[in-house]
């Protein structure tokens, strides 16, 4: 028996607007299913056939998906926070305080962003350990393991650059200490620190640089590598190593 929700969806699919957007009937045969995948910008990069096994729901399957959901949540809350935040001294600290004490629901959004960021770092590590102990780095998954390591680094850099933005004592000293660790690199260390901070001290240049990295460059890199990561999961035929009775044919 169809629920009223299903009936509503069926009625929507019968409308002219829906048909003008999707240009096809229901995906009921193999051919119409692949046409549906090819004709959709957001699905066309999937393989024509997806193994049912690779879509099977298990608790640990969700470590990666939850990391991705947290990333989306961080993008949404982060964009909202950007509406009240000026990446300059002394506004940055005042804006952070305003978000906590003056702006309606500001403390809710800020804490959602902050806690989701902590959780994302935790879950990305859990995801990595799970994949490691399942042997997910073995052929044919070696490349996707490397993409995953890049995503781990992007996550850590996002977390670290975001740490400076409140422009409080914790932020200032964390970045002072962190960039001094960078300058311990032989030969190029102090140069890398100078370019990363845009100066010799953690000042306004550093705040603006970390802001641009945090809200533009690193999120774009994350989206790019997440796309490759998901695509390779399907191309490699699932999340973990195939069992011996699985001959690899679709």
């Amino acid at each position: 028996m169809a629920t009223s929700f299903q009936t509503a969806v069926e009625n929507l699919r019968a409308t002219r607007v829906w048909k003008s957007i999707f240009r096809r009937g229901p995906a009921i045969t193999n051919r119409t299913r692949s046409v549906a995948v090819f004709g959709n910008l957001f699905l066309h990069w999937l393989p024509v056939k997806v193994r049912e096994k690779s879509l099977r729901v298990r608790a640990a399957y969700y470590l990666g998906s939850l990391s991705f959901l947290l990333f989306l949540l961080l993008v949404v809350t982060g964009v909202l926070l950007m509406f009240y935040y000026h990446p300059a001294a002394p506004n940055a600290y005042r804006d952070m305080k305003d978000l906590r004490f003056v702006v309606s629901n500001g403390v809710f959004l800020r804490n959602m962003h902050r806690i989701a960021a902590h959780l994302m770092v935790l879950l990305v590590f859990c995801h990595m350990f799970h994949v490691f102990y399942r042997g997910g780095y073995k052929p044919p998954h070696e490349f996707n393991w490397v993409v995953g390591v890049v995503l781990l680094l992007v996550t850590l850099f996002l977390s670290y650059t975001g740490y400076l933005l409140p422009w409080d004592q914790l932020a200032f000293w964390a970045v002072t200490v962190g960039t001094n660790i960078v300058s311990a690199m032989p030969i190029i260390g102090s140069k890398v620190r100078f370019v990363a901070l845009g100066g010799n001290i953690v000042g306004e240049n550093a705040l603006l640089r970390f802001y641009v990295l945090h809200v533009v460059i690193l999120p774009l890199l994350a989206f790019l590598f997440i796309g490759v990561h998901f695509w390779r999961v399907q191309k490699d035929g699932g999340l973990t190593v195939r069992s011996k009775d699985d001959d690899g044919k679709n």
């Binding site: 028996m1 629920t3 009223s4 929700f5 909202l80 509406f83 305003d98 003056v102 702006v103 309606s104 629901n105 500001g106 809710f108 959004l109």
Partner: protein
Amino acid sequence: MSDTKEITRRDFLSEITVGALGVAGLGGAALTYQYFSPNVLFEPSTTFRAGNPDLYPANSVTFLQDQQVYIVRTPDGFFAVSAVCTHLGCVTQWKPEANIIACPCHGSKFEPNGKKIEGPAPRPLPHFSVTLTADGELLVDKLQVIKADQVLKV
């Protein structure tokens, strides 16, 4: 009760879920609207002191550029006229040689009391409330629009 339609547990739960997600979505939209309405504005104050009345000669129109207001003194008394054109918000100019207030953007013309002479402006320039402070200075409140025939006698 035999004609009551039976619904399965799965249908019931899925309808409850869709309903709950809908309520959560509406709540989220409401919270986001609240978030986007600032509680504190970092804008200039809308009330300002325009100095001692003796600063303004009789029968004069004085443009206060910072506040975008004309202080007009007539034999009857003082009034304050907005210098912002009611057409599209350009700042008008006082032309003493023609005794008019003219807008440089689209050519609207006003009398010194704000009354529209010609041009695309739909309304006359509004008058703002003028009062005297305890120490005898003019106080203009740009949020309080008053009738054009009200003047402050000093």
